[in-house]
C-alpha cells in the first residue's frame, strides 16, 4: 500500500520536478508556533513536512537545530506534541514524516511509535542514528503499521553498504549532501550529485538531498539530479532571528515559496 509520501513522489515525477521537503522541530518556536509554521509551509507549497523530535543529544545537528531543540525541550515537548504536529501537517494535505534519534522511539515503545505515526496520518520516520544492523524490531513495526522506514546515507557510504541500506528503506532515501552536521552552507557540495547517482544504482526509490540547502538557487541545482530537496536549518534560522512570531512565519512562508519555484526550475 502506498503512503501519502509515495504518492507525492509519483506526482512530482509525473510533473518532472523535485519535491520540496521542509523540516521543523515539534514545539518550536513554541507548540502553537510550530503548528502555525507547519500550516504556513504547507500553504506556501512544500510537498512534504518533516516534524523533528527534539533530542537532548543531537550528534547529527549543527548549532541552528541544536538551539531550536533546546528551546523546544525547555518548553516540555514530548512524543504527544510530535504526533500532534504531525497530525496538523497531514491534515493540511501534505505528506508528513517524523525525524528522530532512536532513543525516544525505544523509550516510547517501538511498535507503539510506528502505530502512532500511522494513526496521525504520518507516512514514515527518518532515523539518522539507527543502523540497519540494529533495525530488526523497527522494520517489523513499520511493516505492521504500513509506514516508510527512511534511512540516511552519506558520501562516505560504500557502494556495497548503500545497496544494503537502500534495500531496507521505504519512501525515499535521504542523501546527506556533505560529510558533516545539519546547517546552511554557501555551497552544496559536489559530493551530493555523485552520491545520488551511486544511490540510484542500487534502488528505484526516490532520493532526496539534505544538509546545507537554503536558497532558491541551491534548490534548483539540487533539483536537477535529486527527487527531493530537504530544507531545515534555513527555516529555523529565520524563526530564531525574527523579532516576532508573525515576522518569522512570514519569512519562512516567503522562503518556502522561493524554494518551491527552485525545485521546479531544476530540469
Amino acid at each position: 500500500m502506498s503512503t501519502a509520501l509515495d504518492l507525492v513522489f509519483e506526482k512530482t515525477r509525473s510533473e518532472n520536478r523535485a519535491a520540496l521537503i521542509a523540516y521543523i522541530p515539534a514545539g518550536f518556536p513554541s507548540k502553537s508556533g510550530c503548528e502555525k509554521a507547519v500550516r504556513a509551509l504547507a500553504e506556501a507549497g512544500v510537498d512534504a513536512i518533516e516534524i523533528g523530535y527534539p533530542y537532548s543529544d543531537p550528534i547529527m545537528d549543527g548549532p541552528t537545530i541544536q538551539e531550536a531543540a533546546e528551546i523546544s525541550l525547555k518548553g516540555g515537548t514530548n512524543a504527544a506534541d510530535v504526533f500532534s504536529a504531525l497530525k496538523v501537517a497531514s491534515d493540511t494535505g501534505v505528506a508528513s514524516v517524523v525525524m528522530t534519534y532512536w532513543n525516544p522511539i525505544e523509550k516510547y515503545g517501538v511498535k507503539e511509535f510506528a502505530q502512532s505515526i500511522a494513526d496521525n496520518g504520518g507516512s514514515g520516520v527518518i532515523t539518522p542514528d539507527l543502523t540497519i544492523e540494529e533495525s530488526a524490531r523497527w522494520l517489523e513495526a513499520v511493516d505492521n503499521s504500513g509506514i516508510n522506514p527512511i534511512y540516511v546515507v552519506a558520501p562516505s557510504t560504500s557502494d556495497a553498504r548503500l545497496a544494503k541500506v537502500t534495500s531496507k528503506t521505504g519512501g525515499f532515501v535521504y542523501a546527506a549532501s556533505v560529510m558533516g552536521v545539519t546547517g546552511a552552507r554557501t555551497n552544496v557540495s559536489v559530493d551530493a550529485s555523485a552520491l545520488v547517482a551511486r544511490v540510484k544504482n542500487t534502488t528505484k526509490l526516490p532520493v532526496s538531498v539534505g544538509l546545507g540547502v537554503s536558497t532558491r538557487e541551491q534548490a534548483k541545482q539540487v533539483a536537477a539530479y535529486a527527487d527531493g530537496v530537504i530544507v531545515g536549518s534555513a527555516f529555523i534560522k529565520l524563526l530564531l532571528d525574527a523579532k516576532s512570531e508573525q515576522e518569522g512565519l512570514d519569512a519562512i512562508s516567503a522562503l518556502a515559496k522561493e524554494l518551491a519555484l527552485g525545485v521546479r526550475e531544476g530540469r
Binding site: 533530542y55 537532548s56 543529544d57 543531537p58 550528534i59 547529527m60 545537528d61 549543527g62 548549532p63 541544536q66 533546546e70 525541550l73 514530548n78 512524543a79 532512536w102 532513543n103 525516544p104 522511539i105 525505544e106 523509550k107 516510547y108 539518522p128 542514528d129 539507527l130 543502523t131 544492523e133 540494529e134 534511512y151 540516511v152 546515507v153 552519506a154 558520501p155 562516505s156 557510504t157 560504500s158 553498504r161 541500506v165 546527506a176 560529510m179 558533516g180 552536521v181
Partner: protein, 398 residues
C-alpha cells in the same frame, strides 16, 4: 555459564552495537579492522609493550594498604597502582594503543572528549609523543572546574575547545567530538576515552586496558598464593573497571564490584549511578544503561567527581550486571570524600576522587567480609588534579 563478550557486531548480550549516523560506519569498520589486525601484529604489540615499559611505567606495582585495612574490617587490601602511570591514571593505556592505531591508519589528527581532563591530558600526551595534531572537546563548565588540566593540555600542544551546548559537561563534549568526527572522519581519529560509544570502541578500549587485570592477577597470585575474594573499581564510563575485571571474569569465585557515583544519593535524583539508578537505553552510539526521563531524553548526571559525572556506562558493564557476574553499588559524594581523606591519612597516597569511590566501597565490603578476605582495588588515578575540589570540600583555605 557462557559469557559472551562482544560478537562481530559488538554486542554484549542485548547491549552494545552501533547507533550512529551512516557517515561514521566506514570509519568504525576501518578502526575495527585496524584493531583486529593489531591484535595479532607482533610488531604492533612489541611497540606498545615497549612504550608501556619505557614511557607508561608498566607493570604498575601492587601496594598493600595495611593501615587503611584496619578501617575495612581488617580485610587484606591490595592496590593496583595505576596512579603511578605517566600522566597519573590508567587512561594512558588506552591512548597509547589508539595513537599507534591512528598512525597505522595513516591519520594525522586526533580528537578527544574529556570531563575532568584526565583523558584529555593523556590524549594530548600521546599526540605529542607520536607527532599527531590533537583537539580536545571539554564542556565549558568543566574547563572552569578543571582549569589546571586545560593548561596542561595546552602546554602539551593540544587545542582545547570549550563546548557551550547542552549541559556544557562531558556528555556535550562527546556530542561535539562526534560532530567533528562526522565532518572530518577521513583525516581524523576519534580517541574515545572509555568503554562506551559505538562498536568497536567498547571492545577496543577494554583490550587496551585489560593489561591492568592481567598484571594484577599474576601479582596477587605471586604475593598471596591465591586469587582475591573481590576486585573493586570505580565506574563512570567504566574503563578502569573493565581493565581490572577482564582477566578475572572466568574466575567465578572472584567477586567483581563496580562502584558508581551516587552523588547526593540515588533517591535525590542527583547522581551518576547509571546501572544502580538508570534504565536501558541508547546514548552516544551504544545500547546500555542510561540516565533518562520518561521520553528518552538524557538526564544530567551529578557527582563531585568530574570523571564519573556521565549519564551512560559501557555496555559490557550493563551485560555483566544483568547476568550477575559483576555487582554495582553506589557511593555518595560524602562517603567518597570520607574515604578520600582517610586513605590519604592512612596510606600517604592522595587518590583521585573517582578512585575514592572504590576505596569507600572497600570500607563497606571489608566490614561485610571480615579479616579473612583479600580485596584487590584498582587505584585508577592520583588526586593531584582534585586538590582544589578537595580543599573546597574540606574547607581548607588556599
Amino acid at each position: 555459564m557462557t559469557i559472551q563478550l562482544g560478537d562481530v557486531l559488538g554486542h554484549f548480550g542485548q547491549y552494545g552495537g552501533r547507533f550512529v549516523p551512516e557517515a561514521l560506519i566506514g570509519a568504525l569498520d576501518e578502526l575495527e579492522a585496524a584493531h583486529n589486525a593489531a591484535k595479532t601484529d607482533r610488531g604492533f604489540q612489541a611497540e606498545l609493550t615497549e612504550l608501556h615499559r619505557t614511557y607508561t611505567g608498566r607493570p604498575s606495582i601492587i601496594t598493600e594498604a595495611k593501615r587503611f585495612s584496619e578501617h575495612a574490617g581488617g580485610a587484606r587490601i591490595l592496590l593496583k597502582r595505576e596512579d603511578l602511570n605517566h600522566t597519573g591514571s590508567h587512561k594512558i593505556n588506552n591512548v597509547l594503543g589508539q595513537a599507534l592505531l591512528t598512525k597505522k591508519m595513516g591519520k594525522k589528527r586526533i580528537i578527544a572528549e574529556t570531563g575532568a581532563g584526565q583523558h584529555g591530558v593523556a590524549s594530548a600526551t600521546a599526540a605529542a609523543l607520536l607527532g599527531l595534531e590533537c583537539v580536545v572537546y571539554m564542556g565549558e563548565e568543566d574547563t572552569r572546574r578543571q582549569a589546571l588540566n586545560v593548561a596542561r593540555m595546552k602546554l602539551l600542544g593540544a587545542e582545547v575547545v570549550p563546548v557551550t551546548s547542552g549541559s556544557r559537561t562531558l556528555k556535550d563534549a562527546i556530542n561535539e567530538a562526534m560532530r567533528d568526527w562526522v565532518t572530518n572522519v577521513a583525516t581524523t581519529h576519534y580517541m574515545l576515552g572509555t568503554v562506551a560509544g559505538p562498536h568497536p570502541f567498547p571492545t577496543m578500549v577494554r583490550d587496551f586496558h585489560k593489561i591492568i587485570g592481567e598484571e594484577a592477577r599474576e601479582q596477587v597470585l605471586a604475593l598471596t598464593g591465591k586469587l582475591p575474594d573481590a576486585v573493586l573499581a570505580c565506574v563512570g564510563g567504566g574503563s578502569n573497571a573493565i581493565g581490572i575485571f577482564h582477566a578475572f571474569i572466568p574466575d567465578e569465585g572472584v567477586r567483581l564490584i563496580g562502584l558508581e557515583a551516587g552523588g547526593d544519593g540515588i533517591e535525590t535524583g542527583r547522581h551518576a549511578a547509571t546501572i544502580s539508578g538508570g534504565s536501558e537505553g541508547v546514548l552516544h552510539g551504544t545500547r546500555s544503561y542510561v540516565l533518562q526521563d520518561e521520553n528518552g531524553q538524557t538526564i544530567e548526571s551529578h557527582s563531585i567527581s568530574a570523571g564519573l559525572d556521565y549519564p551512560g556506562v559501557g555496555p559490557e558493564h550493563a551485560y555483566l550486571h544483568d547476568i550477575g557476574r559483576a555487582e554495582y553499588r553506589a557511593v555518595n559524594d560524602d562517603a567518597a570524600m570520607a574515604a578520600f581523606s582517610l586513605f590519604s591519612r592512612t596510606e600517604g597516597i592522595i587518590p583521585a576522587i573517582e578512585t575514592a569511590h572504590a576505596l569507600a566501597g572497600a570500607l563497606v565490603l571489608g566490614n561485610e567480609l571480615g579479616p579473612q578476605a583479600t580485596l584487590l582495588i584498582n587505584l585508577s588515578g592520583r588526586g593531584d588534579k582534585d586538590v582544589q575540589t578537595a580543599a573546597d570540600y574540606f574547607g581548607i583555605p588556599l
